[in-house]
Structure formats: C-alpha cells, structure tokens
C-alpha cells in the first residue's frame, strides 16, 4: 500500500495548512476589485491601528525587494501591485496580524482608490488594433524555467506567437477536393484543488525558509533568491504533503508575496488562501481554436491548419509554454503531410493563466477530435474507419525532429472501442484520441542513505501531491536495495537536503525521479559492497544485499554488523547519490519527448430530451504507460484525470464579465461529483515495458483528461444529432441545440 494513504485517512498527515512555526503571524491579502486601474490612493492607517495588527504590506514597500517583478518567461509580475492593477483579485496589500481572524477583520479597513483604465476582457479585445496594452515593457527571460524564449510582440498584448509548420499547406489546399473548417471554444477552468494555496515564510540569520504547497520547489527557491537578493544556498524550501495542485501550484505562485510580508513583519508569516482566493490566483487558459483540413478525392487528409488564440490573463506565467504545447497537441496521432498551426497567447484583464494537467492539451484535443468526427460525418464514413485510414504507427514521426512515436495508436483505439462495445453492438459511441509530448526536463537528483539500523532515508524534491509518488519511489528503492518497503522512508522535500529537481508535473516524477532514486540506490549498493568487501575481506562478487542486511556467502549480517566491522562501533551510514541529466542512459534522455503521453477514450451518453441534461453511461480510457509501478495508483491517476475532464466537458466555466469573475467561488462553480461517474467504466493500461523509466515505465497521469470532452461531443453528435462546439456542454446549450434541430426538422 502507498505509505501516504494510512496517514491521510487517519488524519495524521501534515499538510502545509497544518504547519505552525514559532512566532508565526497571519497574513490576509487585500485584492483588487478592478480589472484594470491605476492605484491613485491607498489608506492603510485604520488597518494598521486595528487590534493585533503587525504591519500592512503594500506596493510602497517595494524597497524591501531586490527585484520587484518576477516571472517565468517575462519578469512581468510585481510581487505586490505598486501603481496599477491588471485583474480582479490582484494582491494590493497584505495585512499581517497575530491571528487569522484579526488579519481578516483589519483587511476590510484598507481603503484603495482606483482610477479605472480601459480594459481587455477577452482575447478579441486584446487583439484589437486600439486595445490598451497591458504590459508596455517586455522583458523576456530565456531558458529560465522552460527551455526557450517566448515570442511576444512588444507594443501589443501578444506574449507568445508560435508557428508549427511542415510541408506546403497552401498548395495542398489548392489541390484539395474538399476543405472543412470549424471553430471551437474552451473556457477558463479552475484547478479546484482540495487544499488552497498556502505558504509560510521566515527570515532569520540563516536566510529565508519557506514552507509551501509548491509543485516546483526549486523554481520557488530560484525566484525568491532573485527577489530578495539572496544566494540560492540561503533560500530553503520545504514541502509537506500537498492537497492537490494539477499545475495550479506549479512554477511559482504566492511565495514571493508571502515572503515579502514576512520581511516587512520581521517575523514568520503564514498566508492561507480561501478556496475563492485560489480561484483568483490562477486558472487554465481559455482558447478559441479554428481548425481547417483539406481532403483529396480519395478522402485522404492533405493538410491541416490551426489557429489557436489563448486567453492568458493578466500575467504570462507559463502561458507561452501552454500555447506552444497546444500547437503540438492539435496535431493528433495522424498522418498529416502538410501542417501549419499558429498558437498565440494574449494578455487580458482576467485571472492569470497557468499550467494545468496536460498544458494546452484538453483545449487542442477538444478541437481536433471534434473536427475529425465532423469530417467523418461529412464524408459519410464511420469515425473509427476515418481515423484508421490516417493513424500513425509505432516509429512514425508525429512532429519533425521529435522522438518517433513509441505507442501503437491502433491498439489503443481498438481497446477503447472494444471496451465500450462489449458485444452490445453499440453503433453509436463517441471516440477521441490524443498524443502529447510532455515537456519534461530530464534533470533530477536524489540521495539514498542506508543507516546502521537498516532504515533507509530517501531525499528527493518530488512532491507527494496525491499522485502516490512516495509509494513509487519507495518501491524502486526497496527493490534496488533488496529491502522490505517499510524500512524505506521518503522524507518531505527540502532543498536543504535534497538535490535539484525541476519539479513535480508534466508526468515526470515516476520516470525521472524514479531513475534518480534507482541510480542513487544502486550507488548505495556499490558503496555497501565495497565497505563489506574491506571489512570482511571478501570479493564483492561474494557479497549481495538481503532483507535486513547483506549476504556473505551463506551467512547473513545486518547493516549494524557491517558498520561494526568497518567502524569499530555499530554506527554509521552509507550515502548513495545520483543525478539524471540529458546525458544519462547513454544519451537516450536527450531527445524530446522522453515518451509520448497518449490517450484513447470512448463513451456512450444519454440525453434527457426535456432538459438537455447529458449523462455519461459508459466510458473507457486507454493509456500506454510502459509499466504500472503501482497499479491502483496508476488507475487512480488515469481515472481521476478523466473525471476532471468530465468537469471540463459538462460543468466547469470560469466566466468573466468585463473582467469581473462571475463564478470564481465554489458555490457557483460546479465540479464533477461521484454521482456523475458511471459504474460502467473501463481503464486499460497497456504495459509493454518499453519506457525509458524504471522497469520500463513511461510517465503518466495527464492523458486521461484529454479525450473526455470530445468523446462526449462526438457521442452527442452521432447518437443524438447535435454538434456542440463550445464547452462546457451545459444542459441549456444541449437543450437549445436539440430545440433548433427539432425546429429545422419540422
């Protein structure tokens, strides 16, 4: 069983919101009520005089910071708003008090005077010629968190403009028999992790220590070092259990603000956001996607063009990477001789966009897989047959210069179809396929330390965020050291003890950190054997590890015996250490992606004709994961992702009206419930042991979210005669489409 589960169900697990530090004060964030405005006055005097208030941090305190603005692709975001706000929810002050209640009460006494500026509430407005420009000063930074530089256009709101091109689309379209073009929309979506954002910051003689529910602790460390002018060695990030993130806690979020509050307060400060505030902190990028496909006389695809416009919100965050990946993920597992996909991301006066489970994936797959079915319907062909004629095979190139495809799409599609057909001969079902290239940086390190009592500590920066990474690392170390899993202790990620790792996301930890701990455990084995060889004067070939210690021929000794023999006392340890780099595994990790994260999804749905309510009746999801390192955790991730996709498909929608968030609170934001999930649900994990990770594993955990929405839309079109091109497919939208169809028929 996963080591975290018992702690969690028994309430013993410590999450960041449970952590308490000596002398800790509490910060409450005061947020902008304006989507775009100049701050022309701020009165914090009443708040400062309120009971228990330690201090109020505002933009006027920017002198405390070495660097006042930070970011991942652009240094476009102030730690705290100085003279201007760009979205409703942007922090303008932090009231610090001795209790949470007093901080909240005093936060209502802060008076901010705004002068409204004209706004870009939508991408259309942001792209208009006379649009107000949200960021006049473009300062791109390269290879900072993701590889590369964002291609923004200074003087406009476009912060990414990426083009993926192959062949000659124009001449393909000229020679085409038919051309199909459709547009699809995808709304902003809240991450809706069960635990909101939370961080505690403390400055002391040693530097800055921050406890945070962060997915990318080393990115937090790097940004904080710059913001406060500290050496990286003096910034320590500790991450206990995290109650879900889905990308919403990736890169850097509230940590610079919390640390600035602690710097001003002169004592540790904890900031725990409410669920509402987390919804005002980041979201999935909304998208409008137009896609066009040229077909020849035989019905073969000649070319595809795509135009993706993503609503990136007020600050770029990792949006440039999201846009780039959306272009890659629009391609699909198909032979497309000519290709031209443009993906732009634009600033708007809304909550900043950010990474979210399979960045850019659900948006792109929603468009491309709906479009595939629409073409098949126009051609009068079964969507399975239409896809089959164009499917790539293992070893084919999806995108030029990337790793050739390492899965069999036909096998995956057939498995999904088979699972939802099951001899019932359902003619109607919705289908969707996807291939994505995870943006994994193959850089990680780990330490595996074997103690004299036989306990083993593992230090890594991989964050246990509910996915079960600690169980996976425990199993790998246990097997490499030939020890029972219960003696392997996975410590809380802490930059003071664990080597650099890029972060927990992009389906990378089991694979990359798995390789790192496997190698570090191997290093520990070598060192144990060398020590035993010296101590017992034996050839290392005569020594092996066994549960509880070592085997010397037919004799077994404990680790304590080993250290006793080697050191004269039965104390000591052996530290295995390892790094993974692009040159590891003889350079096999150098080519991107490290694996293709793929998905096949099929479903059947029913519709209440009176109300338009859609019910998912059967669902099958297929993933090729190389090897399941923990089967129930792997199935849990795959199924959890698909249920999250069900929320995207039917319910979730962060609506902004002239920049005002209208649904950014749990009361008004419907997420999927267990009662929305059908009993007839199949999860197929394909295991060929052909991944580069430990035991042949590939990464996983994101693919399941991709296929749900288009599979449902395709089932609605085939089975119920209505084609929806906007998400979510709410009852009202479905009913309106059904009514229009009835009206046309009569």
């Amino acid at each position: 069983m996963r080591p975290d589960l018992l702690e969690k169900v028994s309430g013993k697990a410590e999450f960041i919101s449970d952590v308490s530090i000596d002398g800790m004060a509490y910060g409450k964030v005061v947020r902008s009520t304006e989507p775009h405005a100049r701050i022309i006055g701020m009165d914090v005097s009443r708040a400062e005089q309120a009971n228990g208030v330690v201090c109020v941090l505002t933009g006027a305190d920017s002198g405390l910071l070495t660097q006042t603005d930070w970011g991942l692709f652009y240094e476009d975001r102030p730690v705290i708003a100085r003279d201007r706000v760009r979205y409703v929810g942007e922090p303008v002050a932090v009231v610090v008090a001795d209790t949470q209640a007093r901080a909240e009460a005093a936060s209502r006494l802060v008076v901010v005077e705004y002068e409204q500026l004209s706004i870009c509430a939508t991408p259309e407005q942001a792209l208009a010629g006379d649009a107000p420009v949200l960021h006049e000063d473009f300062r791109p930074i390269s290879d900072f968190y993701f590889k590369g530089t964002a291609r923004g256009q200074a003087g406009t709101n476009v912060f990414q403009d990426y083009l993926l091109e192959r062949g000659d689309v124009d001449s393909a379209e000229r020679s085409a028999q038919r051309i199909f073009e459709h547009s699809y929309s995808f709304p902003g979506i809240a991450h809706f992790a069960m635990e909101p954002h939370c961080a505690i910051a403390r400055f002391d003689h040693a530097g800055l220590t921050i406890w945070s529910g962060a997915q990318s602790p080393t990115a937090v460390q790097k940004v904080l070092a710059r913001v406060f002018g500290l050496p990286i060695a003096r910034v320590r990030v500790i991450v206990p259990y995290v109650g879900g993130g889905f990308g919403g806690k990736a890169s850097v979020k509230i940590e610079p603000l919390v640390a600035a509050a602690a710097r001003k307060a002169g004592r540790p400060v904890k900031v725990l956001l409410s669920a509402e505030e987390s919804m005002l902190t980041c979201r999935r990028l909304a998208a409008i996607i137009t896609i066009r496909t040229a077909i020849d006389a035989e019905g073969a695809i000649l070319s595809r063009t795509g135009d993706i416009v993503m609503d990136g919100g007020a600050y770029a965050d990792t949006g440039p990477a999201v846009a780039l990946k959306s272009a890659h993920r629009l391609v699909g597992p198909y032979r497309l001789p000519n290709l031209r996909i443009r993906a732009r991301a634009v600033y708007t006066n809304t909550v900043p966009g950010a990474a979210f489970r399979s960045i850019g994936g659900p948006q792109a797959v929603w468009a491309t897989e709906s479009h595939m079915d629409e073409i098949a319907a126009e051609l009068g062909e079964d969507p399975v047959d239409f896809r089959s004629r164009h499917l790539l095979q293992r070893g084919d190139e999806v995108i030029d210069n990337l790793r050739p495809l390492d899965v069999d799409p036909t096998v995956m599609m057939d498995a999904a179809v088979e699972a939802t057909t099951k001899g019932h001969n359902h003619a109607s079902r919705g289908l969707a396929l996807a291939v994505t290239d995870p943006g994994i940086l193959p850089v990680a390190g780990a330490i595996v330390r074997v103690h004299a009592d036989g306990s083993v500590e593992v230090r890594s920066m991989s964050v246990e965020i509910g996915q079960g990474v600690r169980g996976v690392l425990q199993r790998i170390v246990a097997e490499t050291l030939s020890q029972p899993p219960e003696v392997i202790h996975i410590l809380d990620p802490d930059t003071a003890g664990a080597p650099y790792d890029w972060g927990t996301g992009a389906s990378r930890s089991s694979m990359i950190m798995g390789l790192a701990v496997e190698k570090a455990a191997g290093d520990a084995v070598s060192k144990l054997l060398a020590l035993a060889s010296e101590a017992f004067e034996l050839e290392t070939t005569a020594i092996s590890l066994a549960p509880g210690g070592l085997k010397l021929g037919d004799k077994t000794v404990s680790f304590g015996d080993l250290f006793h023999a080697a050191h004269g006392i039965d104390s000591g340890d052996v530290t295995g250490q390892a790094s993974i780099t692009p040159r590891s595994l003889d350079g096999k990790l150098a080519q991107a992606p490290l694996f293709w994260e793929t998905a096949a999804a099929a479903c059947t749905v029913s519709v209440d004709p009176d109300t338009g309510v859609v019910a998912l009746d059967t669902y099958a999801g297929v993933a090729d994961i190389g090897r399941a390192l923990n089967r129930s955790a792997a199935e849990g991730q795959e199924e959890g992702a698909a249920v999250q996709g069900l929320g995207h498909a039917l319910f979730e929608n962060l609506v902004f009206d002239d920049g005002q968030p209208m649904t950014a609170m749990p009361l008004l934001y419907r997420v999927p419930r267990l009662s929305d999930v059908p009993a007839d649900w199949t999860t197929v994990l394909i295991e060929n042991g052909d991944g580069l990770g430990p035991m042949g594993a590939k990464g996983m955990g994101e693919g399941g979210i991709l296929g749900m929405a288009p599979a449902i839309a395709n089932a609605l079109a085939r089975d119920h005669g209505v084609r929806l091109r906007d998400l979510p497919m709410t009852p009202e939208r479905v009913w309106t489409a059904l009514s229009a169809r009835k009206w046309h028929a009569s």
Binding site: Q100, E104, V613, L668
Partner: protein, 283 residues
C-alpha cells in the same frame, strides 16, 4: 473569511428567546442550524452582533400526528424529517424532498424552520408546503398565531414573520389528497420546482428562483377539467400562459427561456408522479 465577532445566546424558552431578540433589536437574529446564515456572515453579506440559538429549547424538534394534522417541529433537521416514519407514511413527497436537500452535511445541521424563514427563492420546501396547504405557527413572547404557508412567503428572503417571532411548528392537514413535487436541479440550487396537490381540485405551485412560490391557476383549472388526459402541448401552453407575466431570472446558471421551459417540465413531471402516487399520498 470568518464572520465578525458576535455574542452567542442560548435561551432555554421561547419567551426568553423572543424577548432577547426584541431587546437586542436589528443586530440580533435567531440561529436555527446556520447552514445559510453562517455562510452569509462568513461572506460578509450579513452582519449580526447577536445570535440567539433556538436549538437548546425543548420540544421544537418533535414530529408526529396530532388529530388530523402532521405536525413537524421547526427545529427538526432535514435529516430528522427524511428519517421520520410519520412523515414517510403521511407525506412521502416531503420525506423525499428532505432526503434530497443539498448534501448530508447540510441535512444533519439545517432545519426546516431555518430553511423556511430564510426564504431563499430557489429553495424547494416552500413550494411543497404551500401546495400541501401547510400552516405555520409563529410564537413571540406575547402572542401566537398560525398563518397559511401561502401567506408566509412575501418575496426573496422576505417573510411575514416579525423579527421577534419564532416559527415553532409546521402543520400539514391530513386526508386532503395526493401531493407530489419535482425539481429541476443542475447546479447547487433548483432552477425550477413544481408541486401539485389534489384534494377536490388541483393546486399547482411552482418555484422559479425569483420570488415566493407561485400558484398556477390556469394550469390547475386545466388539470381539474380533463383529469389524466391532458396532452403535453396543452399542459405546456397552460403553464406558459400562467407564468407569462412572471419575472423569470436570467443569469449565468440559465437563461429565461430555458427556465420557462424547465418550469413546464417540472409541472409535467410532478403531474406524472402525482398519478403514480395516487391514491396513497397524503390521506
């Protein structure tokens, strides 16, 4: 956010509770479960300096049959009502409704009295209770009165209850015929609710999220006229006419024309389940 600090009073009698609220004035209100009140206070949408808890007063949770009435104490929780054999025997539609309100955490804390006095226009219980011709007993330190549920609800979050009056019991007459209710719920609240009861005539009531329960007279008359043989077209037309002048909300949850349609669907389904439950129902 936390609510602003308030004083929490725990009177032992109705008279004491009523007098307390009368003395403390505008800054005081009754606390009968808190599933709505505390939410508003946390969101800073309501501010009270005094909360007077009614849950410590004996006898306000009793459920039973007295003479020709099913009597439900106002401090009974939704869960108490859903689990009551008296309610499931004499008023199965109310039993079902209370078992489906919100979620289990709300059902074990929230009370029927609190629900009615809050007068949330999207709540379901008011619609069924007016259709059941329930009487509501209101008690203050000096007086007591019973008013019909149909006169209790005045508008969104507005009732005929005076600030120092406490809703103590809900009385549902027995033996008046069958009753049913259906609701169209997609998010956290119902978009439309319909309740139909039948004694000598069809009483058809709807909730539509914009005001107090509304009686559909034309629809009721149609059902009386051609009992059991009403076509869907005729029913939908009658409902549409009855609600033609009604101001129906239109917001992000649902637009006006969809809501108008859902009201008719709710009535259709309430009618279908009325036919199914006859002749058991309330009797």
């Amino acid at each position: 956010m936390r609510p602003d600090p308030f004083t929490y009073h725990q009177p032992k009698s109705l008279a004491e509770a009523s007098s307390l609220v009368a003395e403390l004035g505008d800054g005081a209100t009754f606390y009968a479960g808190g599933t709505e009140l505390l939410l508003l206070m946390k969101m800073q949408l309501a501010e009270y300096r005094h909360l007077v808890n009614l849950k410590k007063i004996d006898g306000l949770k009793t459920i039973g049959v007295e003479h020709d009435r099913l009597v439900i104490g106002a401090l009974a929780t939704h869960c108490d009502i859903a689990l009551s054999t008296a309610v499931s025997k004499h008023c199965p539609s109310l039993s079902r409704l209370c078992s489906e309100i919100a979620n289990i955490r709300v059902r074990v804390a929230g009370t029927i009295g609190g629900n009615l006095c809050f007068a949330e226009p999207r709540a379901d219980p008011p619609v069924l209770l007016v259709a059941l011709d329930a009487g509501l007993q209101l008690v203050s330190a000096h007086a007591s009165r019973v008013i019909p549920a149909s006169e209790f609800f005045l508008g969104p979050f507005e009732t005929a209850r005076k600030p120092d009056e406490i809703l103590t019991t809900i009385e549902i007459p027995l033996g008046t015929g069958a009753a049913s209710f259906e609701r169209m719920k997609q998010g956290n609240y119902s978009l439309a609710t319909a309740a139909i009861s039948r004694s000598d005539c069809h009483q058809t009531w709807i909730g539509y999220g914009g005001g107090p329960p509304k009686r559909l007279n034309g629809t009721g008359a149609l059902l009386d006229r051609d009992d059991g043989r009403t076509s869907e077209e005729a029913l939908f037309a009658a409902v549409a006419e009855d609600i033609f002048d009604l101001e129906i909300p239109s917001d992000l949850e649902a637009g006006e024309s969809y809501r108008r349609h859902l009201i008719a669907v709710a009535v259709k389904r309430a009618l279908a389940s009325l036919h199914e439950t006859e002749p058991t129902g309330v009797h």
